[in-house]
Symmetry: C2
Subunit: 252 residues, 2 copies
Amino acid sequence: MITVSVLGSGNVAQHLVAALGASEKVKLVEVYSRNIPAFIIPETVSHTTSLRSLLPADLYIIAISDSAVADVSSRLPFKDCLVVHTSGSLPYSVINPCNRRGVFYPLQTFSRNKAVDLKSVPLCLETEFETDYDLLSTVASAITGQIHKIGHQQRKALHVAAVFVNNFANHLYVQAAKICEQHDISFDILKPLILETADKVLTLPPVEAQTGPAVRNDSNTLQAHIDLITDPTQTDIYQLLTKAIQEHGKKL
Amino acid sequence: MITVSVLGSGNVAQHLVAALGASEKVKLVEVYSRNIPAFIIPETVSHTTSLRSLLPADLYIIAISDSAVADVSSRLPFKDCLVVHTSGSLPYSVINPCNRRGVFYPLQTFSRNKAVDLKSVPLCLETEFETDYDLLSTVASAITGQIHKIGHQQRKALHVAAVFVNNFANHLYVQAAKICEQHDISFDILKPLILETADKVLTLPPVEAQTGPAVRNDSNTLQAHIDLITDPTQTDIYQLLTKAIQEHGKKL
């Protein structure tokens, strides 16, 4: 059975450890982190705080912040092993070249307090050597049905797109929650709309799902909204995204 | 049994007709629209293209564009009847005052080609006269379990918040789809992330759900993304929302 170790103690490491630890297709051997992680490591899995004492494994997954990947990879006490990172942005070449390198990028948002079913999470894979792809793909198949072979340029673009649909969309929720709070309205009222907005683009192209005053060029409502907003950041967002919706409409 | 008529042929009218037509709590009497609507009207329900020949009903729901509500309401051939509109922005006072007025605002996004289960859609109600609230609330309860008594100021604020979480979030999906297209990536890969982003804020406050390079102040990734983006509108959106996430972080 393929053996895997996970290096890291953050949100991505936590979710990978849970999924790999529960899989019967691969064996999670060890978790490395500088400190004892806040999440639960299965009893059958070792934990080490020393890179030098890492157990042998077929695959090492470095699931740590982008800025630390190069350093940790250069301190691995072995060579010619398969070492991958989980970053959407970095090329595999940041990993020390004394090992065989690759990428194992889960396209999902992970927070400590929210369980995610990895089965539907796309994993974007890349390997330095074609001969390593099968092994990486087998490990990926232990946790998800959605595996994509994606090189660095496409992965970087996908990461930018992910920032738009996740980080930025979530910030719109943050601003909406502020508006609700300011007007003594429960944010709960917006939840069905938030869910339907996402659900809609599972079946409709986003451009067909667009509704609202901007796409209708309903200038009375747009002005009424601008008049109601008191927060300058909200005004900037409102004006920019309204203009973007209207310009996109014109180009079609 | 309470009798209801719907005036309109757009997306909101379509969904209200389907829900009210299927309800056993109220009787949908008639649908008015200038032209034959593109959606199906139940066989037991009349259709008219003449406001002057409207059948009697306990409640008339005007589900048409904001700019036409005042005019249509002023051409109704009766007085002292309960007449409501479905707008998030307008006060009930745009309705001609010869009738008893109110608002029946479904907080949801409706498109012709996407069915919506109204059972989970919040309905925001307001009536000019307190004595009409029970009737409006009974009709609302025929289609949803989520009924909120909300006045004009709060409803306007809610509508702005809805623009953020729906119209603007959807536009972010539009931009992400463009990025995918430009880099020959299937938009499908983003769908699990889109759904999880929405799902997350059902249980976590949005501010706790925030992840990504902006909130981490990961300047290398932020710069790499700006370098990758070639569309000026995407650059503007990226910079503004990144700044907003970072400023919001500082205020906490």
